[in-house]
């Protein structure tokens, strides 16, 4: 696979607001029963003070059962005025028709545009790859990733922000509950996993594309913290054809997860040790076999070590994963109740929608908590 990527180099404006924290929340039904976004909207709203209204978003799994065999592309057309948005869409439509079979497309339904600030035109397409020439050698996923990178870097004002099967991201500038209401997530969609993010941008400007979740195919990331190794991670990922266009550090986690889990097929337990490896002192105390594995991982994947404080929730088809940096500089609380599994920045938000728990705990730094559909492998820490 070969990519020619022109990286946008935009001079950033200094950002001038109080720095605080983000909020993350995830809820999953392990039986695969689907529920609306109403509960998670309440839960994230309870952590309103952790955000500042400059970004909110949702990832939902299992929302398109009627189109579950097609890749659901969510597109964002930005730009000043309807003319710029329409012209971006025109260009994108032509590109999609050349490279994909589009079985259905529509504007994503939304509420009153005056309730949010400067909304882009948001459209969804259900597609299958139309591989031609040497592209036919690629897997569907590699083909799609390549095309997404092309759109995000080459078509001005058009961004693919969601591209998996039977799932979708919804995001924008505002408090998460406002974004949820704008896209009517409490009324129109039912999912077996919801992950949510309330943003407190620290180093970059707030814009619709920069809200969380970040996603590629069916992998989505919501993130609280800062990736101070962003530069190193970004250049490493570029070698594998990933273009970081969304001006935010979290993007690299999504691409790293895609590279390691989809393309290199590593299990999450190993991926966690790459992103948040144990410190050398701890490795020294391990048995020979573990020591060799961890040393190798640190050598081979050094540029994918995520330095700095973070807590993330990774969503994938049938799976939700919570992970923090190795010394847990950002909080995450996990809880279970019956078939429900929750992850949250704060326990109170889970209590709000599930007053009783079977178990509640704060996972150790660098150790992933994995929840999978009962129909899949199930590993609880």
């Amino acid at each position: 696979m070969e990519f020619k990527i022109i990286m946008p180099r935009i001079r950033r404006e200094l950002y001038n607001r109080e720095i605080c924290a983000c909020s993350i929340f995830g809820a999953m039904n392990q039986d695969g029963e689907r529920f609306t976004g109403a509960g998670v909207m309440l839960a994230i709203a309870n952590m309103r003070v952790r955000g500042n209204g400059l970004g909110g978003g949702f990832a939902a799994y299992g929302i398109y059962p009627d189109y579950k065999d097609y890749y659901a592309f969510h597109l964002m057309f930005t730009g000043k005025g309807p003319q710029a948005k329409r012209s971006a869409k025109k260009e994108l439509d032509a590109f999609l028709c050349r490279n994909f079979d589009v079985v259905y497309d529509e504007e994503i339904p939304h509420g009153d545009e005056t309730s949010v600030s400067d909304p882009p035109l948001v459209w969804r397409y259900f597609v299958l790859p139309k591989k031609q020439g040497e592209d036919s050698l690629l897997s569907d996923e590699d083909y799609i990733v390549g095309k997404i990178m092309w759109v995000n870097t080459r078509i001005e004002n058009a961004y693919v922000f969601s591209s998996g099967k039977n799932m979708g991201c919804f995001k924008g500038v505002g408090y998460p509950e406002e974004i949820g209401e704008y896209f009517m997530l409490d009324k129109l969609y039912k999912a077996y996993t919801w992950t949510v993010h309330g943003r407190f941008p620290t180093n970059t400007q707030a814009w619709w594309g920069g809200a969380h979740p970040f996603s590629l195919l069916d992998t989505t990331i919501v993130h609280n913290g800062e990736i101070s190794s962003y530069g190193t991670n970004r250049w490493y990922l570029e070698m594998y054809g990933y273009a970081c266009t969304l001006q935010t550090d979290t993007e690299v986690i999504a691409y790293a997860a895609d590279l390691l889990m989809r393309r290199q097929k590593l299990p999450i337990e190993i991926v966690a040790k790459i992103l948040a490896p144990p410190i050398w002192n701890a490795i020294d105390r391990m048995n020979e076999k573990e020591k060799k594995l961890l040393t190798t991982l640190r050598m081979v994947y050094a540029p994918l070590l995520m330095n700095g404080p973070f807590a993330v929730i990774i969503g994938q088809t049938g799976r939700m994963i919570g992970l923090t940096d190795r010394i847990r500089l950002r909080p995450i609380t996990a809880a279970t109740r019956g078939e429900m599994f929750y992850l949250s920045s704060e326990e109170a938000s889970i209590r709000l929608i599930s007053p009783q728990f079977d178990r509640v705990w704060t996972p150790n730094g660098g150790e992933p908590v994995v929840c999978e559909l009962n129909s899949m492998r199930k590993v609880l820490q």
Binding site: N46, A282, E346, A348, V360, T362, N364, G365
Partner: protein, 270 residues
């Protein structure tokens, strides 16, 4: 909705004395500031005890309750209080019927906090006085930079275990971890940068789990007196754990103390 209800309905100015004692606040949909304003109003009107129900994530409960007359109050919390519960607490007693989040007792000055459940990260951060009792476990960085000065010596007793960085940069005070479930402490980086105070762990700990500045030693008689005092208080507060004071005290304990009061004295010296 949000309201403070005095349990005695006919409240008159001339009745404001000890016989009007208990008030109730329903914290449903109440913001942090509104809740703390109500607590302040109640304290100023002479209320001695407040029950707060339906608490869900409101932060800084009990902070700001300072008066020059040193008024004191007893607060019972039903629900899950938010971060920085009882930050800068000035002599009040707070009981949480449930779990607490991060930052309990941040820079607490005096008083008592009882958590009938678990506490999150940075429990007792910069605490400089008073006592905290947590029935279950606690998160990362417990007792981070806890300190003491002359007569002020903070005490933190935790029934279960803690996660990493217990007592990091600790400068004073007493931390007791009873680890009532398995007595094997799994935390690492215990007492990293510690230069004051003392940590008592029930059970044992490996040298690699503690910071380089920390000495692990057996208890002496003076330590036993201190432990006896605070374990007794712990058992009094949580009879539901079903363990007697003797049962707890008759097990192995280790003491962690700093090797030096100035571990970094040579670090920046040229």
């Amino acid at each position: 909705m949000a309201r403070a209800v005095l349990s005695e309905s006919s409240l008159k100015a001339d009745q404001l004395n000890e016989n009007i004692t208990t008030a109730l606040i329903d914290a449903t949909d109440l913001e942090t500031k509104e809740l703390n304003d109500q607590l302040m109003d109640l304290m100023l009107s002479g209320v001695k005890k407040v029950n707060i129900i339906n608490v869900c994530g409101q932060r800084y409960i009990g902070t700001r309750l300072y008066t020059p007359q040193h008024l004191r109050m007893e607060i019972e919390i039903f629900g899950t209080p938010g971060n920085d519960l009882a930050a800068f607490l000035y002599g009040h007693k707070i009981t949480v019927h449930g779990n607490a989040q991060d930052g309990v007792g941040n820079t607490m000055d005096a008083g008592e906090i009882i958590v009938e459940g678990r506490a999150g990260d940075v429990l007792g951060f910069s605490m400089r006085g008073g006592e905290i009792y947590v029935r279950d476990n606690c998160g990362y960085r417990t007792a981070l930079h806890m300190k003491e000065y002359e007569g002020k010596r903070p005490v933190l007793v935790v029934g279960d275990s803690s996660q990493d960085f217990l007592g990091e940069y600790m400068a004073g005070g007493i931390v007791i971890l009873l680890d009532l479930h398995d007595q094997t402490h799994k935390a690492n980086f215990i007492g990293t940068g510690m230069h004051g105070g003392v940590i008592y762990l029930r059970g044992s700990v490996e040298p690699f789990q503690v910071g380089g500045q920390v000495a692990i030693s057996p208890l002496d008689d003076a330590d036993r007196v201190v432990l006896d005092q605070y374990v007794s208080r712990f058992v009094e507060r949580f009879p539901e754990i079903g363990k007697s004071r003797e049962e707890i005290l008759n097990s192995q304990f280790v003491r962690l103390t700093p090797k030096s009061k100035r571990p970094y004295s040579n670090l920046y010296a040229y």
